[in-house]
Point group: C2
Chain length 329, copies 2
């Protein structure tokens, strides 16, 4: 199989609705600051009715990562399910406009394109309520074998563990990737995802995954320990490579016996943390696909994360390739 892509990703295809909010708003609506909560269509509509005026923009964790990879100049592909509606068109347009391959057939006659209501509090923290809509209808039939077999790294979004058909699609994908000698990467996505699917995630990563992305909370939750080092040690014993982010404290990369601590890039003002983890994964995988040493992969991740948290919206607003060149990475 020819190598067509640096990174191919499967994720929940989501349009974000981003609006400012205050802590009182979060409390009044029972929202857990910093988390991603799943909501049904009625709850989504009810919450939306109380939100401030918003900006709509393509999102979705793996979609954001693919946008980051493309912004670094990487060859990227995305698989995910939108509905045949206006927000689905927006998502597809934005994916193709960055030069990524995106050809998953839109869903007809089912729920609407997924949307995530993102309330951003003044310190820049984002709290998300996601109506998954059409994105849960991604099935094994949507897995494009030629894309998976032609990608150096296949990146899977932990959020998809919430849908049974998507878990089967992951199993198919991992099988195709491994048979072609491709690297399989997984992000744990969210602490609540880990709570809901601890056993499934562990079994999947132990048998199918080469590279795991997590933040400190997710890693500790996965192994049910309050001790970061214990969690890291448990994770490194199970996968060849892992990168665990720690917010403003940067990240730690573990590969066998080797460990690299990487600093976060300083940011003048954190405006909106949406997409920080997604962009870290973008920089890291772009570095890996282009043969950079692991500490440089981490630095590329930190750089991309710093760019995205300095403005509203989950995707880069400048060319990350230029930014990396400026920083000599």
């Amino acid at each position: 199989m020819p190598e067509l892509y640096d990174v191919a990703a499967i994720g929940n295809a989501i349009v974000d609705v981003i609006a400012p909010a205050d802590d009182a708003f979060l409390s009044a609506h029972g929202l857990d600051k910093g988390a991603m909560m799943l909501v049904d269509e009625a709850r989504s509509a009810e919450l939306y009715a109380h939100m401030q005026p918003g900006l709509e923009t393509s999102g979705g964790s793996a979609g954001n990562t693919i946008a980051g990879v493309a912004s670094f100049g990487g060859r990227a592909a995305y698989l995910g399910k939108v509905a045949k509606d206006q927000l689905g068109e927006v998502f597809a347009h934005d994916m193709r406009a960055i030069g990524a391959h995106f050809d998953t057939a839109p869903l007809i006659g089912g729920p609407a394109t997924a949307r995530s209501l993102i309330n951003v509090t003044p310190e820049g923290e984002r709290t998300m309520c996601t109506f998954l809509g059409a994105s849960t209808e991604f099935t094994p039939e949507d897995v494009e074998a030629s894309v998976i077999e032609g990608a150096k790294i296949v990146y899977l979004e932990g959020y998809l563990f919430d849908a049974e058909a998507a878990r089967r699609a992951f199993a198919k994908t991992a099988g195709l990737a491994r048979a072609s000698g491709r690297m399989v990467a997984l992000t744990l996505s969210d602490g609540f995802v880990v709570e809901r699917h601890r056993e499934g995630l562990l079994a999947f990563l132990e048998t199918q995954v080469d590279l795991v992305f997590a933040n400190d909370t997710e890693a500790m939750s996965l192994f049910q320990t309050p001790d970061f080092d214990a969690a890291l040690s448990a994770l490194r014993s199970r996968v060849k490579l892992c990168a665990v982010t720690k917010g403003a404290q940067g990240s730690v990369i573990a590969a066998g016996a080797e460990t690299f601590a990487v600093s976060a890039y300083p940011v003048e003002k954190v405006v909106d943390t949406t997409g920080a983890g997604d962009q870290y994964a973008a920089g890291f995988m772009f570095g890996l696909a282009t043969g950079r040493p692991l500490n440089v992969c981490g630095q590329l991740g930190s750089l991309a994360a710093a760019e995205v948290i300095s403005h509203y919206g989950p995707r880069p607003q400048v060319r990350l390739a230029d930014l990396a060149a400026q920083k000599g990475l």
Copy 2:
């Protein structure tokens, strides 16, 4: 009739799709920098396919003005036609979220909600291609008499002269407003609108309008003169009050024999000029409705325009009421 609103506006209800572009893109697609061009659905789709990833946000000239009035703390109402679709919901949400009255019935079974493709070049100039969709289906039946009769100022968007049913709606609106002793304001909207409807606009403003907003290009085009002073003089002889903006040179207000020159507020970096004229009108009318002197009305307009051109998007991102208080207006 009780006074319910400071400003009630009728406009084309439009969702903006904002993306960065360069001059080569404008040339390649035959776009006239700084203008608003009308396009059909096919041309809109073709252009969109070539644009960069975008941000979607509620727009529409009078809609932006109403958002500005509300941001100043004014009581505001909006009338305009969206379709019963996702972008229509976004528009309605954003209008109600700022506290404005918006109750025009959405169009069912017709064209989609209007969208304006806005390409912003590096110097901050915006070039718009608008597919009017459902917005042209605003008819006299959509004019809510209680809203028009209850508004201190009724603000009409010149763009609606492109649709025959909307012109009839304007005639009905002006009749209701004048019978209730309300002030009728009109914006000329765009140079091409003036070219297309010079006679109709002149007849309407001479017989129905108390206050006219225009920029220098529109005013000179209306009277087919290259001489700004001649255009201002022709305009002041026809309406009680007019405010003509001149970009970075500020604005001129003419009321009978009186003239006020108002400076523009300095802006550190012009990011996106979309909405500058709309916000000028918002500040001016809020000032007028709250009894400020005319030069202060102009300063409120300049202040709101400066805020909106300092960021992407056509509506204020900070409370204009706070900004005005800081500046002692």
